[in-house]
Symmetry: D2
């Protein structure tokens, strides 16, 4: 399997590069970039290269001629113009950017603050690659965002099974700095992050509409929900703490029902570990492709808390992309994804 | 003014020591400890002593004979046995421990997991020193806990003014490690905290009953609420993120009402800064006695989020103790509390 | 005393602002900036203002007309063009930038990589404000750099007293990120600093020539020395670890000699604490204007290690500027500098 | 290959466990512990188990009967009593503890502050497993300490080639907190490490004698050297900054000579990367088994600085143990060691 990677300089792309180095079914990687950056990138990647790789000037035709598929880890705005070309050529793409995640172009324009979205024809042929729920089949897969992944895996048992009052859902999520990317900004300057915790883009994060889109697949009448995003003083890791109210009539049997639902949903999923009443911390997963999900229910307040943690760069980006890659090409589910949590 | 400090070795006591060094109305400080620790403590405090101080063996009579008042920054279990002696002597005490915060001894026994509480007679003479609301008058003041302080100052406008559905309140709070104290434990080992975020004592933190006690003063029918506590990878700072639902009929005028209520409550309070829609981060306050309170309301979900931040060791412990001290003895409200946030 | 501050937006300027708020002899502060930034700065400073302050458009004549002296906390390149004007008007200036620290303009051009230095006439009237050694008398004081301060205070006993082989001196210094300033760069991006330690500008840091200049005042034949600079994953604090060899003949009496020299040099200095064989860590000083100096000697290898720690923004910048201010105007040495180490 | 691991609860043991999970020639792992801990350990390891594993009560005979070799990652004092038994049975052991690293039992007693060392007969049969230099052949391998590994790989080119004045060597080393192990102590309490840098065990670290022992193999007349150890506020990573003086006569050709020596020493070593004048930071290696070595020479001061960085838990412990394992059993050098640096 010869794979292309476009956009390897961001954090997601860098982790994707690392995972591909260790994937048993990938024989060669070609990294595409701008002409001007070829040498610098070549030197930089050589440090961690284990298998043969090439750095090449980005050219769509050349890319399709010399590879079996492509990953795009480009920033917003790149693939919306390119996607249709690949689709028409029936060339498989896994797209880590947000460009084709939203079926409704108008939503994309609003949340990504831009004037144009991918063509409707392209959006119609895209599948949303939430790997545990949507088996990758189509040739163009939009890989979910990090907040969306943790939140949807935590909300699935509550929303699919109609276990809670949908109106009451509150998500208090927080992520490490790598989620903000490599771009220089006051908010990623060390002195502003270290010894601090801050909230940002509350109810305004661009992952909200893709969460809603998927929830409405599961529950067409899903109403809006509170979505808080916070910046933790650390590099990698994301926790979504989900609160919801249980109807008075359901309190008595709720715990058993939730445990059963979780068991049914995730028993066969190698990358989801249900920790029960023991709430997982970030160290339980960071470095690996795991999602850990724990929960506690307080009958006095009828409030259930579900805690879902991931490594935002692995399960929240590059790792899930490899999961989709494995599904698409029929490789073993865990191929290339045996990394254990760093733990220490 | 000659003041005694008992228990200067914990973090709260250490900050109290620092604040007393800079208080204009304090002429001399006597620090009480065990006989065995006299020399070590003397040497340790000399490093940061600006004004005369004495280290003495703890003895109740000697303490009352040679000082005008006492601060206790001892761990749980010490003052419950001593309080009555001071009260009977009408000797003023500001108690930073949790021993006399709960009027109901049974609650203390339950939440502090112990067999005995302070005598009911002592509890009856104690006032709860939430400085912005309860003017210190009695001679024995129970200084509030850190989570209680941030949460109560953030909840006050919502609960006093009946602005929200009381049943819907969820508090998602998180604190730096100094809140856990100096005691060695796995949960304060550097390797377990660094690059991690974890939840602990969810709905089980010992500050919950004192929050409830004060809320019920404001709203006798106040029901139980969700209270989540998280451990941030940093030393100082505490954020309480409070969520509540607004009744459909109140949505239209809610923002104006909340802004007015906050203005009325805190306009004359030198240590509370209302930041409006701009949500404060920890750096806005850490190092100072400030509480910063911001909020956002989402009419679509009828959810208000109030964010209240403090330095857990200053406003959440030693600084508020100095506020109570100033009130009790009629000093200027801000005496000894001019410390600005570290900011960098 | 009415003081002007130019350049309050960097870290040094911000700390200077904080210290001036608490200085008993400063009645009013006027902050000068560009016209465009007046409102933003006014709002930002209001948060931490305790005494009256004005934000004004920078104008040299207006500044001199309405103030008794000025602090400049501007970046490199600003004061070299302005200094002479203030000198000719005999208007006192304390300059935190590096522009006039080097008596030799050619050295400035080389180390600061620029084509022009301050006029020789201005350099001749400037005094280098290493507060413990050079009593501020002239009207224009160049406040030392952070690495220079820690290194010179640690080297003084060795070099002044000729206690070591001057050829053998090695300084292994490391600083927190605030030393690099507020400017956005890859090297201050959180993800590059967190969980990392890196070396930079080895033997090339611009504070080296001012160290050499002062050492040569003490020892005219002082030869070049190794100077290593490292970036610690923390905000504030700087340690200079100094190594030197003792001549075989001096080994026997070295410890006693060094202890005596340190005692003589610093016994009356309120901001230097000699900790002896116990090596100080950053927490011993960060937040305060203190320098802590410890040392150990190994007779087997004839190597002495002197460890000198400061808060790079206080003693290494704004605090020392206040020391110079106090000396220049005859205020108490410790006026406005009573801040204790944060400690926790 | 069936391997036994004794002592999997410390950080080194935990990383060893992780590496063994991914080693292609290891088919089954048996973890030995105390009877009382069997269940807890079973549950804990299950989280990250990829291949079959057993948790068993520690019993020497059972261990030898059911495994092909054993790793010991126990704390000091355990293997000195056990080693001879394994040797007499010709059962291969790789020992990550310090118990048999020092050929001279008296040295062990002095530096490890204990009354007894391993029997001389056992020490004589032990080989010191500095993997790049000492090909593992004997059946009992003492795996080097973390400081020793980084320092020896950095010093080798200088000392073996007689390139510097041996009397002048100074090593300024610093490590993350995991080097101090899991044991609770004030020095690993989060509040004492965070935002701090401190020195400890200067010239007294127990890895010093094993460095000296190996240096004397290379240079019998090697004299004592300065060895400074510092604690960085981070989890994993170790840097040894080595300074030495070059004889005046050698200055001219020194750079070329050092470059050639490094090239010759490490060209065929897959786990040593020479970065030349570009000094490596911790992120270049942490997470991997790599050592990165860079250097700079200042002819003015005749000082060479060699910077050697490793992950203290991988190359400095478990990773080097796997290298020795691969050498001992003839597996590919890089088997099980393909982990890339975390990088982000």
């Amino acid at each position: 399997m010869k794979v292309a990677v476009v956009g390897v300089t961001g954090y997601g792309g860098k982790i994707l590069w690392q995972l591909l180095q260790q994937h048993p079914n990938v024989t060669a990687v070609t990294v595409y970039t701008r002409q001007a950056d070829l040498t610098a990138l070549q030197n930089q990647l050589a440090w961690s290269a284990i298998k043969p790789f090439t750095v090449a000037n980005f050219d769509v035709d050349e890319l399709m001629a010399n590879n079996n598929m492509a990953f795009f880890a480009t920033s917003a705005g790149v693939t919306k113009d390119l996607a249709l070309t690949f689709m028409q050529a029936r060339f498989p793409v896994i797209d880590l950017s947000g460009d084709l995640r939203l079926q409704d172009g108008a939503q994309y324009q609003q949340w990504y603050q831009t004037d144009t979205a991918a063509p409707a024809e392209a959006l119609a042929q895209t599948s949303y690659g939430l790997a545990e729920f949507n088996q990758a089949t189509g040739a163009y897969i939009a890989n979910p965002g990090c907040y969306a992944t943790a939140t949807l895996l935590g909300l699935a048992p509550l929303v699919q099974g109609d276990l809670v009052d949908l109106d009451s859902i509150i998500v208090d999520a927080k992520s490490g700095v790598s989620g903000a990317g490599k771009k220089l900004s006051d908010s990623t300057h060390y002195a502003n992050v270290d010894e601090n915790f801050s909230l940002y883009k509350v109810n305004a994060h661009q992952h909200i509409p893709e969460i809603m889109q998927q929830l409405q697949v599961w529950q067409p009448q899903m109403p809006p929900f509170q979505f808080t995003t916070g910046l933790l003083p650390l590099n990698r890791g994301l926790m979504a703490t989900i609160y919801a109210k249980v109807a008075p009539a359901d309190v008595f049997e709720f715990e058993e029902k939730l445990a059963l639902t979780l068991e049914k949903l995730y028993a066969d999923q190698p990358f989801v570990k249900v920790t029960g009443q023991q709430l997982p911390d970030l160290k339980a997963v960071v470095g690996s492709n795991l999602t850990a999900i724990g929960w506690q229910f307080n009958p006095q307040t009828r409030t259930v808390m579900v805690v879902s943690v991931i490594d935002n760069l692995v399960k929240g980006a590059a790792g899930q992309a490899i999961q989709n890659f494995n599904q698409l090409f029929g490789f073993a589910q865990t191929a290339g994804l045996g990394q254990l949590p760093f733990d220490i």
